[in-house]
Amino acid sequence: MTRLDPQALVTHLDRLYRVAWALCGSREDAEDLVQETAARVLAKPRRLHGQDELAYLVRALRNTFLLSRRTRSRRPQEVATLDQVEPAERRGAGMPEVALEARELFTAIAALPDDFRHALVAVDVAGLSYREAADLLGTREATIASRVYRGRERVVEALRSGGGRKQAGGEASMPARSLR
């Protein structure tokens, strides 16, 4: 059975960071989540059980996220809304356009209902196949395809209606920018 090479954490770091940001909705939380995941993964030798190493790491990241969310829900909330954890930089504050767009996107993805978000993150952000995503999320490929489709629709709507700062689950209004 193949062992996970610890170096895989460095190799896939950018992707893991993007997945973490999409799950958490904030850069700071994403950094914490990746660090925590790295610490857990490196705590002992890991076996891949036939999995791709990226799929293994995405699963570890997601499990750490779910665990930390459960733990956090039992503690008094330090931050209440996504608006409060938004980075301080705003449009026009000298940040590159790409960074702004990415932040809006992450915010929109993080605001998706859980099922859509996890499917979209697994496929579009982590780059897993539908089969790997189905395995990760314990569901069928067709369900993943459907959730990814709905998730994309909602993200597009959220970006059109307010640059992703509003909830991706909310109603769309006037188109603000070209997405395709």
């Binding site: 610890p6 770091l13 950018d14 950094e31 660090q35 579009d124 994309r152 993200v155």
Partner: protein
Amino acid sequence: MMDEQMATEDDIRAIDPPEALHVLDDVVAPDRLRMAVAERVADVRRAQGGERRLRGRLGGVLAGAGAIAAVFVVLGLFANGIITDQTAAPSARAVAPVALRAATAPAPAVRPGGELLVAQAGPIAFPTWTRAGWRAVGARSDMVRGHDVRTVFYANGAGRRIGYAIADAQLPVAGGELVTRRGTQLRVLARGTTSIVTWRRAGRTCILAGRGVPLERLLTLASYAA
């Protein structure tokens, strides 16, 4: 489950990932996170390597000669300097090989302005050196006898590679040749196939090393970084 009605195959085929999602491909992990994870990985590798070496050395000896022989082996390790005083600071010469090793992390991102990378060692930010014809191609982070050493690797158009390492303290420097470039004192620790230049800045020790790179080229780069 809300809105869980199945999309048809046609629906799914009709919508590719929105182009907006491709923006995410440009998002990279911040350097502090990269360094932190690389350090954790390096720690695990060192621990695994040390465990294997110790098992290999002691296991064989113990099996053959018993516990008394093991005592002699340990004494022998001390005598041969394999086990050394971990509290002694390494010399700049001892740290220099780090700058010639392989990268363990991707190249750090460039800060706005294009002159500096986001990677830094204490107050010193690593330069891009793009105007001198070099570009960052990787990074690594090491602990050398308790001292944090950050390294960024650069390559030029000819495929030559250099490493710029910064240790977190003023390490002892012995020998070498003092030279001055642009009013900055630099010390050449090696010249020839492998060239190594060191200098001190902001309470830290900087080392620039490369194989097959003219010493003058290193001195020029060092004088701009010093």
